[in-house]
Symmetry: C2
Subunit: 351 residues, 2 copies
């Protein structure tokens, strides 16, 4: 590979800052390996919406679809009515590019402070469905604003959508050491969707005899994330439960500032998209205090997805080295003061 | 008041054991105050279903509706197909008796071990909607078992249902010291339901100028429960988000074995129902190791609801005394060994 062609959506709030550090790291690691990095910035998010009323046009989508991958910072701003940027931009990207696998690893770097007294070893990955469930926008209101208003939200689950996601999750589990897959749902209440998910895991599981499986209700899963996160290896779950679990997982492993994610279209029909789990954090935007590790971790997932595994490993190694330095400082009673650019400097130096 | 008339549903797994301890405590505290306790046991749950195929008949409902309150242990058994007991018994009770307020206090007793390194002061209450949302059973499947299966689940939210619940939550908040109400939802994705919930909180909030409000997405709320639970005073939320949050809340405050709940019909048109947040825990049923504190805490909520406040205070005091003893032992390095009957003994003795 001589070049990779990446669409860059910095987005809102801290998005552009953390993305810039991920790009610096990408430039550093790729130029060492003689790979050209083509970066095409896309102006999407609150600024553009205020200026033009546009979130994501068909032309934007057509242009974006021509790249190898999309690196995204964060989307969302309090100045824009709720849901517009999330649904018409972020979710539209996930749906239009059929990002049915939302991959969210949770790893606690040794020594990183956790709110848990005894976190144990946290090293699991959530395989979240990305194109169905309650995220379809399949609801509505009648008699809005009256005493007789009814608002509905519909969770749509298809055999097609669940099967391909569950199969992917089994593949992920089979390639890991512990080879354990946990389905998280709420099948005692959501009986129709729960039944489909359970049957699918049972069926596809027959093709993966090396993978052991179990099941947890979403409420029980939120308990175990706090009391025994080490029990998890791979979690497969729907769009909303995955959203909830991965934020809690981010919190226990050291903060969502560290949590990376990939929105994958595994077949490559569309570019996959890589973004931190965290949001746009408008309150700290521009202060150079956001931790870019989640963005840099998302870069690692991107490099891996593009098959540039050695570069991915190099960045991951540099991140681990840097996190070990933080842990050493913390152990010495000197909490590491994150600056966005400082972390970027440290990772680039470690490369 | 000379007598109270309570329907007792021990239910499945550890349900009967923990309920028995709550009843012992009730007998002790009420007889001291010259109040008669009428107990009518109802055989509902897995045993009855296996024996008769019945979960909850119209006759059961009619009989239950004649009591002042219902004390419930736990419902659910792995020998019964998922959803049958939960939906046709537990949820049917909540829906038939219009238990629209599901009240779930989270209090961490001083010194009780928490999985959090620094839990701070945990003293909040979740006001969960109990008769709407994704719990309506309003979904279905088409082409079940084929490659074209579609399974849906519909969250139904009505102005009527949301308003009465939100009003109740404001009343709870106004009566507390901090007077702070947090709405938890996911309005950036569930725009129709989220919009209804937000507008309702804004509208009803005008009647409660002393109460401050804020908003969190469900994913952010699961983070703050781990990183800063002390920030919460009253949380108001829908049925599913409430289910998830209260289990996580139970975990951080010392375990769901301590978490009590009330299913209220505040107007008294139907008997309210009091039950631990925990499930039936079939794995430890009959071993006398389940902690009955959640069941006894549910009794406190019941006594309060029935207006027998002094008895409620006495039991709460006895529970606090007992929990302080546990904390003392723990501080001395001797972890308190819970036995179901032993905890009942201790509380009765403290009365
Ligand atoms: C911003 C929001 C729509 C999004 C989601 O709910 O998926 C975010 O929380 C995430 O997890 O990526
Ligand atoms: C058993 C189940 C149906 C129930 C619920 O989801 O409400 C339980 O988890 C609870 O929280 O009381």
């Amino acid at each position: 590979m001589n070049a990779i062609d990446v669409a860059v959506i910095g987005g809102d709030g801290i998005g552009p800052e953390v993305t810039e550090q991920a790009l610096r790291v990408a430039r550093t690691v790729l130029s060492k390996r003689g790979i050209e990095l083509k970066e095409t910035p896309y102006d999407l998010g609150a600024r553009r919406w205020h200026a033009t009323g546009q979130t994501l046009t068909d032309d934007d989508l057509a242009a974006l679809s021509g790249h190898d991958a999309i690196l995204l910072g964060a989307i969302g701003d309090p100045s824009v009515p709720s849901g517009i940027l999330e649904r018409d931009l972020l979710l539209r990207l996930r749906f239009a590019f059929d990002h049915y696998v939302n991959l969210r690893p949770s790893i606690r770097y040794p020594g990183v402070p956790s709110p848990l007294a005894d976190p144990g070893e946290i090293d699991f990955i959530v395989v979240r469905e990305g194109t169905e469930g309650l995220y379809c926008g399949n609801g509505g209101s009648v008699r809005r604003g009256t005493a007789h208003e009814i608002a509905t939200e519909v969770s749509v689950n298809t055999a097609y959508g669940v099967r391909r996601l569950v199969r992917y999750a089994f593949e992920v589990a089979a390639a890991r050491e512990r080879k354990h897959l946990t389905l998280v749902h709420k099948h005692n209440v959501l009986v129709n969707a729960g039944d489909l998910w359970r049957r699918t895991v049972a069926e596809i599981g027959e093709e993966f005899p090396s993978v052991s499986t179990d099941y947890l209700h979403i409420d029980a899963a939120t308990i175990f994330l706090v009391t025994d996160p080490a029990r998890f290896d791979v979690i497969v779950t729907d769009n909303l439960f995955g959203d909830i679990l991965t934020d809690e997982a981010g919190a226990i492993s050291g903060g969502v500032g560290l949590a990376a994610s990939a929105n994958l279209n595994p077949e490559g029909a569309f570019p996959s998209m890589f973004e931190p789990v965290h949001g746009s954090a408008p309150d700290i935007a521009g202060t150079n205090t956001a931790d870019p590790i989640a963005a840099i971790g998302s870069l690692v997932l991107m490099l891996n997805h593009l098959g540039i595994r050695e570069a991915a490993n190099d960045v991951q190694q540099a991140v681990s080295t840097h996190m070990a330095q933080r842990a050493e400082l913390a152990a010495a009673g000197i909490p590491y003061e994150v600056t966005t650019s400082g972390v970027g400097d440290a990772i680039c130096a470690a490369l």
